[in-house]
Amino acid sequence: MPLKTFIEAIREGLREEMVRDETVIVLGEDVGKKGGVFLATDGLWGEFGDDRVIDTPLTESQIVGTSIGAAINGIRPVAEIQFADFIFPAFNQLVSEAARMRYRSNNGYGLPMTVRAPYGGGVHGALYHSQSVEAFFTHVPGLKVVVPSTPYDAKGLLRSAIRDDDPVLFFEHKKMYRSVRGDVPDGDYTVPLGKAQVTHPGTQITVVAYGLMAHYALEAADRVADEGISVEVVDLRTLRPLDKETVLDSVRKTGKCLIAYEDNRFGGYGAEVAAIIAEEAFDYLDGPVTRIAGPDVPGVPYNHVLEEWFMVNPEKIADGIRKLAAY
């Protein structure tokens, strides 16, 4: 299979969906001639033209609100928010409008739309180019939230997101765009939304992760394997709807669980996973459900020493695994 970078897989997924379905359009800031600040849409404007690859003003609420309207009238928009950090002007459109349209109209309206946004730190992006924003949206019924970790999943999940009849938020860790490569087959495969994957089988501790942390969890599992600790890694892939069964099956087997996420610890997505495990797998637990997560400061600091302090990395996860293994 051809080896591709994470961003190549996303670009291919976008392009192939636009070829397959002429109602698919792309809109966002700098997505046209420039091809996006990360080049996720590079070449699409040249191939599909002004009508289907739309450079918008710097107006995130408009990008999402217009996508909602376009989705009502027969278009499948794929909106790009340039950085997840800048999604908040569109929060009202996403939470009050997109998430509720089907429910509030009693299935009168559905919104087939995707909103892509690069998230995450470790790239010298500081407070406003590093945030993990998934927890704001996983809280909201009516939004699907996807965070792929491999090029294969990114392309397959993006296809599923675009073909889905409900709004999907698709968060891409920007540090992975060019640093992560993987096999991406040719042809029209999809990866279903709402399905987690065990990416490393093990017996003693379950590590639940997604996005960049899914890679770091695998590295951590390798590090502690030499010490005789057998780790099972579950890559969630879709945060909402959550594939509870895959998580619970693993925890019921291992009896211990650590959740790794880059977002601030307090009230982060891992808190919900921990609560579900506590409620539904308590009898199987041999230790506390623990979290390795970003510190509770209002953003990722810029200075490289401070940024390294903030970022969760394989060694920090490995340390968490060692402590949990000692129970």
Binding site: P57, T59, S61, Q62, G65, A71, N73, N106, Y109
Partner: protein
């Protein structure tokens, strides 16, 4: 560009009032019926509220003439409207029925807007190209702009209109949407039904520059101000805007100066911030008696026609009330449906299950 309207010239009996704007006598009678029907439905809502039958009313009284005149210029079943909570006459003009409006007041299972999920006033109908209304104001402008964008991309020839009050027009989404619609010359019409108040706050404290229509010039699009109590002036402004939109000439902003004959809602007491003199003067601007007088003077609304229309309205409103009264509440077993198109195993019911309450 500004087009200020003057009251339609008084027509002599037997003359053709609609000729100047291309409307037939039948059109005018139907428009009158819609204005009067919307008023009658609205008045019934207040009676039902005062009688303790429905908990909340948000009213369109004083806006009906503008709504019927403007919506009449759009093509039912083809064009789109993203309405707001006062848009009863708009929704009736675009195909919703008095039963549709009153089942929303009672929040019945059969309420086509939301199946009883939304507050009254949050109308919507996919069947009639009316976008579902929410409570955060002005968000719907972007939806109409998106619908217009899709119409342009798909070359459907559709026009999308949205309406809201002048208070809502101050929201940031309005700026973002007008800017985008103007850049792309979208087939979009922005209607501001200016009744002078954002709940209790008067124009002077919410709209700098004292008009909304003049803001259009900042986007390089036509801004039009009309007497919103003059049905035919509203129709004409809307007809011109629709023609521009269909010709690919882009959006138009129409500010219709209407009145608010009732309090903001059934939970508001407007005499706290509006004087008796002001309220009496506003009543004198009401489109319903003015439009009636126009049609009577023109010999179009004959005594027979009026009797027929009034009887049909009484019948329709009584029927809608009886129907809504008889309709069952939604079943709690359905309350988790339509979060998504399909049911998802991850969306678990609460520990108390999906049965009805004990009350």
């Amino acid at each position: 560009m500004a087009v200020s309207s003057k009251p339609a010239a008084a027509s002599k009996p037997g003359s053709h009032l609609g000729d100047a704007v291309g409307l037939t006598d039948d059109d005018l009678l139907e428009m009158y019926r819609l204005v009067a029907l919307a008023r009658a439905v609205d008045e019934r809502m207040w009676i039902l509220n005062r009688a303790g039958r429905i908990p909340f009313v948000i009213s369109g009284q004083g806006h009906e003439g503008a709504q019927v005149g403007i919506a009449w210029a759009l093509e039912k079943g083809k064009d789109w409207i993203a309405p707001f909570y006062r848009s009863i006459a708009t929704c009736l003009t675009f195909g919703m029925s008095p039963r549709d409006i009153l089942t929303a007041q009672y929040a019945t299972a059969s309420d086509p807007s939301s199946g009883g999920r939304q507050m009254p006033g949050h109308y919507g109908s996919h069947e009639h190209n009316l976008v579902s209304v929410s409570s955060p104001v002005a968000t719907q402008l972007l939806h109409a702009v998106g619908i217009a964008l899709a119409a342009k991309i798909r070359k459907t020839g559709q026009v999308a209109m949205t309406s809201m009050g002048e208070g809502s027009s101050n929201q940031g989404d309005v700026h973002e949407g007008l800017n985008f619609a103007a850049i792309h010359k979208l087939p979009f019409i922005f209607v501001v039904e200016n009744n002078g108040y954002a709940i209790s706050v008067p124009m002077a404290k919410q709209v700098a520059g004292s008009s909304v229509w003049e803001r259009a010039s900042g986007y390089g699009i036509p801004g039009v101000v009309v007497d919103g109590e003059d049905v035919l002036a509203c129709y004409k402004a809307s007809r011109d805007a629709v023609a521009r939109a269909r010709a690919g000439d882009g959006p138009t902003l129409i500010e219709a100066k209407v009145t608010r004959l009732t309090a903001h809602s059934s939970d508001d007491q407007q005499t706290k911030y509006r004087s008796e003199e002001e309220l009496a003067a506003e009543k004198g601007r009401d489109a319903l008696p003015k439009f009636r007088a126009q049609l009577v003077d023109a010999g179009i609304l004959t005594p027979e026609a009026e009797e027929r229309i009034n009887a049909s309205i009484t019948r329709d409103v009584d029927d809608a009330t009886d129907y809504a009264e008889s309709q069952p509440d939604p079943d709690p077993a359905t309350a988790m449906k339509w979060v998504f198109a399909e049911d998802w195993p991850g969306e678990t019911p609460p520990p108390w299950g999906m049965g009805g309450g004990d009350g």
